[in-house]
């Protein structure tokens, strides 16, 4: 029982480590992993032993961290990885991810309440969230 317990403990946690090998070598170290098999982002990197190729820095971080000038791509990556908390913060009308969005899109003034009042529209379905957010904010941000 004890042994099985230990073994399962080891197995269950280590699978997380092995899982990230399934991601290709293309792009930046994580970019390709982030869009993992089942399209989820954070899971693919949930390990200390993040298993990327060793060129995570020198091959440029462009794929996981688009340049600031490419606001659309930057916002999209941000929302992909933070989707759980972006949605929560929008529904609550405040939160850290809202100020990140404001920074990425260079917005003026309070965007939180505008996003909150458009929550139902933005999340009517889970597709094109970052486009819908951009549309809602188009008047207030440099996009």
């Amino acid at each position: 029982m004890k042994k099985i317990f230990v073994a399962t403990l080891l197995l269950s946690s280590l699978q997380a480590f092995s899982s990230d090998s399934d991601f290709g070598m293309g792009g930046c170290g994580l970019g390709s992993m982030i869009m993992g098999k089942d399209g989820n982002q954070v899971l693919a990197i949930t390990t200390n032993g993040t298993g990327t190729q060793s060129f995570g820095i020198t091959s440029g971080t462009s794929n996981c961290n688009p340049p600031d000038e490419d606001k659309t791509a930057k916002l999209q990556k941000f929302i992909e990885a933070n989707h759980v908390f972006v949605e929560t913060d929008i529904a609550r009308g405040n939160g850290e991810t809202i100020s990140s969005i404001s920074k990425i899109l260079e917005c003026n003034g309070d965007i939180a309440h505008k996003l909150q009042s458009n929550y139902a529209t933005i999340y009517s379905d889970s597709n094109g969230v970052s486009e819908k957010i951009t549309r809602v904010l188009s008047g207030q941000c440099a996009i």
């Binding site: 200390n48 298993g51 820095i57 020198t58 990556k77 908390f85 850290e96």
Partner: protein, 629 residues
């Protein structure tokens, strides 16, 4: 005529450049620059036995000389040649682009005239600097995580801060192993042997927050470093250099925390943080020790920030509700709950309860929500929709963190104790205790969770005066004990697992005998009062022994264990532990132990222990002097 002139000019320029290159090399040679600690650190050399050097970097791309890994001198001279090379000026592969910090150090140390050097474009490096926009740096400690053997002792990584009030968009620099789909057994064995290449990656900090804070529910502590702008620049340059190579990953010593701390040492010869680690980082590196090391330099940590995990957020916010609000929370936290009952409440109350419901799902179903599991997502969406209709902002709380909980205030990881005692059967005895790491039920609890026991490498020896013999009393290779107290909202089981040896004193043998094996079990913990903890576990105990009775080598049994601890204050605690087991095969099947420990601490470094120990056969009294170091 004209051609000749140009050719002559080119020739003389070339000659001139070669002359200069030669003189730079000469002065590097004459000043024995390759022996300077700045150079040795930039290349991550460590001194071996008999004056030899070896770099910890294992990728060829980290060196310009083919013997660079073992030869600091050859590497320096070849590096000088490399920066004078006039090809590859726009390919990012020029040595000046690949090793910006080495280059800058060399230029300033030898007072090289940069105008006499090639000017490669280094587009990728410049992009990296531009993206990171580092103004300051922090080391982030991700707290202990008992659910993953590789993360039990916590984890550290770097954060390069833009200082623009939005940490999420800062850059995390993580060192990890590339396991490439190794099976779990190979992973564990290979991890100890250094079979996997480890590498640094740069990644937006929000990935790290989601990974640790939310997916694994671990608290994050940022130790913001007091580095000048110049030092931050050096750090970023050096990260660029190491980002190009790999280091064999060793679980115990050359792990994430060691390499992250080593980056700091590399940028300034006056830093000696690695030397402050237990055994100077040679045998093992526990992540928290690298945080302790930062505090050995006065004012090096400018400030500490705390980022609560999903579970911390939920439990804290739950405790803030009054009884009435809690009742309503329980009524609505069902997938088919009727949310209209919220309508009778004030907006403030609705916000509190709905926010807590969101906290709850984020914590309890982190994986399902992340994977956009349709059922859980639909469930959460009901609260989100309700919440979005109330224009009131949420109060995002838990900024306070009591000094007591700050990880860097914990006791040092190694512990030694010397004691003297008396056993009713064996007479007077002397005791020796050593623990490599980390935290026990009766250690000072500041800086650690009092409900987590985490031991690796503990040995206890007794010396008996009567027989003049030393006996190994107990060796713990590894022990984990998780004791989350049950509360109204938290219903987690307690559990234990340990691997090691213990000395059994029972009636089956004239003399005490050794049992080597595993022990584990499950149970529950309650906090009777804040400082009064009671736990009970059902244990299973399996060990190999010498032949005792009936010619068996196996000692297999189990039974209940109970523990009680009272922490009067930071300086005094008392703990009582009881175990009653029944064992198969043996003549005398019952075995019990009772231990009563009293600890008096003068600081997090010293203490005294007074113990009473009773077992099936004898009783023992002892007192010890304890040292954490």
């Amino acid at each position: 005529m004209c051609y000749l002139k140009i050719a002559l000019l080119l020739f003389s320029f070339n000659l001139f450049a070669q002359d200069y290159q030669y003189s730079v090399k000469e002065s590097a040679r004459n000043s024995r620059l390759f022996e300077q600690s700045a150079w040795l650190r930039l290349l991550h050399y460590r001194k071996g036995i008999i004056n030899s050097y070896k770099s910890e970097a294992d990728g060829e791309a980290f060196f310009t000389d083919k013997n660079g890994k073992y030869n600091p001198k050859a590497e320096l001279l070849t590096f000088i040649d490399a920066i004078f090379k006039t090809d590859q000026l726009d390919s990012n592969e020029h040595a000046i682009c690949r090793f910006p910090l080495r280059f800058k150090w060399l230029v300033s140390t030898l007072k090289i005239d940069p105008t006499k050097l090639p000017q490669p474009s280094c587009e990728k490096y410049n992009n990296f600097i531009k993206q990171v926009k580092a103004k300051s740096a922090s080391i982030v400690f991700s707290s202990y995580y008992l659910n993953n053997p590789a993360s039990v002792f916590g984890h550290t990584f770097l954060r390069l801060n833009k200082n623009n009030n939005n940490e999420l968009l800062d850059t995390g620099i993580n060192f990890g192993a590339a396991t490439n789909g190794a099976n779990p057994l190979y992973y564990v064995v290979g991890g100890f042997m250094g079979a996997f290449p480890g590498a640094f990656i740069a990644i937006p900090y929000y990935y790290k927050v989601r990974e640790y804070n939310n997916y694994e529910s671990r608290d994050l502590w940022s130790y913001n470093l007091n580095l000048s702008e110049e030092m931050v620049g050096r750090l970023v340059d050096h990260i660029w250099e190491v980002g190009n190579t790999n280091f064999d990953y060793y679980f115990l010593d050359e792990n994430c925390s060691y390499h992250v701390l080593n980056l700091i040492d590399a940028i300034n010869p006056e830093f000696h943080f690695i030397d402050e680690l237990p055994f100077k980082g040679y045998i093992y590196t526990i992540p928290i020790d690298t945080i302790y090391a930062l505090y050995t330099k006065e004012n090096f940590v400018a400030s500490v920030d705390y980022r609560p995990s999903s579970s911390t957020l939920f439990y804290n916010n739950f405790e803030k509700l009054n009884q009435n609000q809690k009742t309503i929370f329980y009524q609505i936290i069902k997938e088919d709950a009727d949310l209209s009952m919220l309508n009778s409440l004030s907006e403030e109350d609705r916000v509190k309860i709905l926010d807590l419901a969101l906290n709850y799902i984020d914590y309890k179903y982190a994986e399902a929500i992340l994977k956009e599991d349709s059922e859980k997502t639909k469930w959460k969406k009901r609260y989100l929709l309700e919440r979005s209709k109330i224009a009131l902002s949420s109060v995002n709380s838990i900024q306070v963190h009591p000094e007591k909980e700050l990880p860097h205030n914990g006791h040092p990881s190694r512990k030694a104790a010397l004691g003297i005692g008396h056993d009713s059967k064996l007479g007077t005895l002397a005791q020796f205790h050593f623990k490599f790491s980390l935290h026990d039920f009766t250690d000072p609890q500041t800086g650690f969770s009092p409900y987590m026991i985490l031991k690796m490498g503990e040995v206890n020896f007794d010396y008996y005066e009567k027989t003049s013999k030393v006996r190994m009393k107990n060796v713990t290779l590894y022990e984990l004990l998780s004791l989350p107290p049950l509360t109204e909202a938290r219903k987690n089981l307690s559990w234990k697992m340990s691997i090691g040896q213990k000395l059994i004193k029972d009636k089956n043998s004239e003399n005490p005998y050794s049992s080597i094996g595993v022990e584990g079990g499950v149970g529950a913990t309650v906090n009777l009062k804040n400082d009064f903890t009671l736990f009970g576990l059902m244990l299973l105990d399996l060990g190999a022994t010498k032949k005792i009775t009936n010619n068996h080598n196996l000692r297999l049994g189990g039974g209940p264990t109970l523990g009680l601890r009272w922490m009067m204050n930071d300086y005094f605690l008392t703990a009582l532990q009881f175990y009653q087991g029944s064992y198969l095969f043996l003549d005398h099947k019952n075995y019990f132990t009772v231990t009563w420990e009293n600890r008096l601490y003068f600081s997090k470094y010293y203490g005294l222990s007074f113990n009473l120990n009773k077992n099936s056969k004898s009783q023992e009294f002892s007192s010890q002097f304890i040292l954490y170091f």
